[in-house]
């Protein structure tokens, strides 16, 4: 195999591969990336057996001089491509070594046996749905932060995707708060519910290279495929039951407050300065036209921050982990937010102006 291509393009693809290749030593072959050169072009792949990547480098960016494939250490290749200063890099396969050249530098890199590298599956012929890649990235951004980090209930560690009546719904929850976003994808879209690992979605975001690019999503038995012009991300689905999230969204919250997103964010951040790491909570008191947020850090002091609010109705005191509120305010850029509440111990529903829904569970002291 022999290829010659733009350093930047190769560095980009190796970087993508490195993010996926594992550093765990349990299966050393997975620390590698695979370069496949055919008459159709160059593909760089990597997998950790959970997630797989196939990255296509266009013939403009990389020229195939001799077809074939090589397996090379991902981290090393990414470093080399990053640090070379030449415009171009060439990679050619020898007996046991692969020669990487750029400018006046040359590296002899030990290759691994290509046969040992697991095959990365191709997506099924028909895609379940197509969506604007930027839109999908936005939906990911608005949900992924709410998923659990290392819950023993594995389903919560992912983001739930489902198409209902031509609408794609993405939901994530860690059991204490939940983020939900919907987007029309057209009646013809059909896809079974799937729970996608956070790491995979992080990779999908990187697939988007051009504006107005389409992302096509398809599902086979236990895998989900995200395909864009530049490449493909495959991920194993998380097995398990996702909580019935529809039931969790409060329907009869009758205390409604409307406030400026930036104002609330700033007030919340200030109030949170005086809370203790061990039991972070702030008290939000909604009264006619005024919201007071108070915090307290034992032995250190207290905070009291006021903000304007459109609120009528009985006064309500409700306590939250300030981070939960800050999180949902930072993923959207709506001007105003709506908070609907009922009681200090029941879920609050927070909405932006674009249909983003967020359910936050309060902290309650009996």
């Amino acid at each position: 195999m022999e290829i010659r291509g733009k350093r930047e393009a190769l560095a980009e693809s190796f970087g993508m591969a490195q993010a996926i290749a594992t550093t765990r030593s349990t299966r050393p072959v997975l620390q590698n990336l695979l370069i496949t050169a055919t008459k159709d072009g160059v593909v760089v792949s990597a997998t950790d057996m959970e997630i797989g990547l196939k990255w296509h480098i266009s013939s403009e960016d990389c020229e195939v001089l001799k077809e074939g494939s090589v397996l090379l250490p991902a981290a090393r290749m990414a470093q080399i491509a990053r640090s070379l200063e030449s415009e171009e890099i060439s990679i050619s396969e020898g007996e046991t070594l692969c020669v990487v050249k750029g400018g006046r530098s040359k590296f002899d890199v030990v290759t691994e046996n290509v046969e040992d590298f697991p095959a990365i599956p191709d997506p099924p012929a028909a895609a379940a749905l197509e969506i604007d890649a930027a839109k999908f990235a936005e939906m990911t951004h608005k949900t992924i932060f709410a998923s659990a980090k290392e819950s023993t209930r594995y389903a919560l560690n992912g983001v739930h995707l489902e198409v209902k009546d031509g609408v794609l719904e993405m939901v994530a929850t860690d059991g204490r708060r939940m983020a939900l976003i919907k987007e029309k994808v057209g009646k013809q879209a059909k896809m079974p519910a799937a729970i996608v690992p956070q790491k995979a979605l992080g990779q999908v975001e990187k697939l988007k290279t051009a504006a107005e690019e389409k992302l096509s999503i398809s599902i086979s038995e236990r895998q989900i495929f995200f395909k864009a012009a530049k490449g493909l991300v495959v991920s194993r689905l998380i097995e398990g039951h996702f909580p019935p999230y529809g039931d969790v969204i409060p329907k009869d919250n009758n205390k409604k407050a409307v406030l400026s997103r930036a104002g609330l964010l700033s007030a919340m951040r200030q109030a949170a300065l005086m809370t203790s790491e061990e039991s972070k909570s702030v008290l939000m008191s909604f009264d006619d036209g005024e919201l007071t947020i108070t915090g307290r850090a034992p032995d250190e002091g207290t905070s009291e921050v006021k903000a304007d609010v459109k609120y009528e109705g009985d006064k309500i005191d409700i306590r939250f982990n300030p981070q939960f509120i800050i999180d949902c305010l930072t993923v959207t850029d709506s001007e105003d937010m709506t908070i609907e509440m009922k009681e200090p111990s029941t879920p609050a529903l927070i909405k932006d102006q674009t249909g983003f829904l967020y359910v936050a569970m309060p902290i309650h002291i009996v």
């Binding site: 659990a148 059991g175 204490r176 969790v248 203790s276 309650h364 002291i365």
Partner: protein, 585 residues
């Protein structure tokens, strides 16, 4: 020809004598053992007031003839052994001929029984001191024994009985233990109108365990089987994830008998050593079958203790079989290396620290020559506000180092401090929790969907009687049906992932402690558990900012809230000591 005979005095005097009946659970134990010895396929236990006013045990076993019934209440009357030799090869639960006599001496007893080949059933009533009456009655094959008003004639003993729930707890524990040994026998327990459990005949131990612990755990159990020279071991072991803070989850059996035995529990810990975190205990069910001659059950009147003839061998075989299964299953936790662990610098420091530990321990000069224990040190700094502001000052790059994701190494004015991050954080959280409890109740983070924990009947009872206590701690627990508890909220201090384990540990602590604790003792124990779970773990990699925040926090933690487990949180290697060791002086 009656089956029951009176043991001759030479046999009788060799039997471990002493208190047989201590509390309602002892009565239940004796009656259930009799039913099992009689070959019952179904045993029903009914209680009133935790057994204090009524215990009724009904079986469908072989029953007794009129003569046997009459004899059964005599001391040393038994059908199970005849000679001294039999004492050394016991294969029944009972053998002393003591139980019914002892019960009849301290309570009002009524027995109705019918032997398989008898047309009639017989009813005996007996009241202390020993007025026996027998008359014909009606009943299908089997025996029902009713014991009323335990200790009614001995007020001094009666006074020592605990609250109904506590007695019920003991009985539940015992009966569950027996149910796990005799899966084919249907068993049920009710207290008043309330059914505590109803376990139908099961096809295997695993199926029976599912009835008590839920399908999830039953499925996760690892099977271990093996043996050596007439000793066989069968065990079902829960993966370390299910571990508890006490040894309550360990059930050991010898020839079907539920026993509490050092040799066996020692063998289990040996098998788990290196797999289990310190201060945690496995959940495991271990069944040993051994030739009756090889084990002496005639050690203690309660028959819960045993003595193996060759305890070394038993220990070796049991731990061998268990560790074999554990190794194959590959459940040993992998030590996660912290970020800093990999760099050569960290490696070096780690190694030299280790070397110091070695020397310190071998030389036995702990604390004496410059290593000082940091118990009160943080507080000392904070309170006196003197020049040694090691943890508080903004620290330059590199002066804080996390080693092995577990220890924090810090340069101080005096020398080098090594801090156990978990111990330190645990202490900080504990202090915070105690302070909040002193002010009122803990804040509970409510959950969108409650966390559901499968529980045994014994555990459910424990949660039920502790709901108020749990609410004070921010844990809103609700009983769902027979075998599940739902938690609607958890202490707000707790990180996301740790709810499962906290719930399990809290429940197992509640079970183990019964209702003997004062509220304050219980709150202290719970505060410790919460602190332990809310604290960062050994192995959690921390960023520079987190490290600094942790140390700064330590400044404000008062020393009167000593580290919950009394372990030191910090060791200091002074410059004096360094210079001495490097022979600069």
């Amino acid at each position: 020809m009656p089956k029951v005979g009176i043991l001759p005095p030479d046999v009788a005097e060799k039997i471990a004598a002493g208190e047989v009946i201590e509390r309602p659970a002892s009565v239940v134990k004796e009656l259930v053992e009799n039913a099992l010895d009689a070959g019952a396929q179904s045993i029903r236990v009914e209680l009133e007031k935790g057994g204090k006013t009524l215990i009724r045990v009904a079986d469908d076993g072989e029953g007794m003839s009129r003569e046997d019934l009459e004899l059964s209440f005599h001391r040393h009357a038994t059908s199970k052994i005849k000679s001294v030799d039999d004492l050394f090869a016991i294969n029944t639960m009972g053998f002393r001929g003591e139980a019914l006599a002892s019960i009849a001496a301290v309570a009002r007893v009524r027995t109705v029984t019918r032997a398989a080949d008898d047309e009639n059933a017989w009813e005996a009533t007996i009241e202390p001191p020993s007025h026996l009456e027998i008359k014909p009655a009606g009943r299908a094959r089997g025996t029902t024994v009713e014991v009323r008003d335990l200790f009614f004639s001995i007020p001094a003993r009666k006074k020592f009985l605990s609250r109904d729930e506590t007695e019920l707890g003991h009985i539940t524990r015992y009966l569950q233990a027996m149910a796990l040994s005799f899966p084919h026998v249907a068993m049920s327990l009710a207290n008043g109108k309330r059914v505590v459990f109803e376990a139908g005949a099961a096809s295997s131990v695993r199926r029976r365990l599912a009835a008590f612990y839920g399908e999830d755990m039953a499925e996760d159990l690892l099977e271990a089987e093996g043996g050596h020279e007439g000793l066989t071991v069968y065990a079902l072991i829960a993966p370390p994830f299910y571990s508890r803070t006490n040894s309550y989850g360990l059930y050991t059996y010898v020839n079907g008998r539920y026993v509490r035995d050092r040799v066996l529990s020692g063998a289990v810990s040996q098998a788990f050593s290196g797999i289990m975190e310190p201060r945690r205990y496995p959940v495991a069910f271990v069944y040993v079958t051994i030739a009756p001659e090889e084990v002496d059950v005639n050690v203690h009147p309660a028959k819960m203790e045993i003595r193996f003839r060759d305890s070394g061998k038993v220990r070796g075989v049991v731990s061998g079989v268990l560790s074999g299964a554990l190794l194959k299953a590959d459940i040993a936790p992998r030590i996660r290396e912290g970020e800093a662990g990999g760099s050569p610098r960290a490696e070096n420091i780690y190694r030299s620290i280790e070397a110091f530990y070695d020397r310190r321990v071998s030389a036995g000069d702990y604390g004496a020559q410059g290593w000082s224990q940091g118990g009160g040190r943080f507080a000392g700094q904070g309170q006196t506000g003197d020049a040694r502001t090691a943890g508080g000052e903004p620290l330059g790059q590199g002066s804080l180092l996390q080693v092995k994701g577990t220890y924090i190494v810090q340069e101080t004015d005096e020398g080098i401090a090594i801090i156990d991050q978990h111990a330190l954080h645990e202490r900080i959280v504990y202090a915070d929790v105690r302070r909040r409890l002193a002010e009122g109740n803990l804040a509970g983070q409510r959950l969108l969907i409650p966390d559901v924990v499968e529980v045994t009947p014994e555990e459910r009872l424990a949660v039920e009687r502790s709901r108020d206590l749990l609410a004070r701690l921010g844990m809103d627990a609700e009983i769902f049906g027979d075998d599940t508890v739902a938690f609607n909220s958890f202490p707000a201090a707790l990180a996301d992932a740790k709810r499962d384990r906290l719930a399990r540990d809290v429940i197992s602590d509640l079970v183990a402690s019964g209702s003997s604790r004062s509220i304050d003792e219980a709150l202290t124990a719970m505060a410790e558990l919460i602190a332990c779970h809310a604290a960062v773990r050994a192995g959690d990699a921390l960023g520079a900012e987190e490290l600094e925040a942790l140390l700064a926090k330590a400044e404000n933690t008062e020393s009167r809230y000593a580290c919950p487990h009394g372990r030191p949180t910090k060791l200091v290697l002074t410059f004096d000591e360094l210079e001495r060791r490097f022979k600069r002086r």
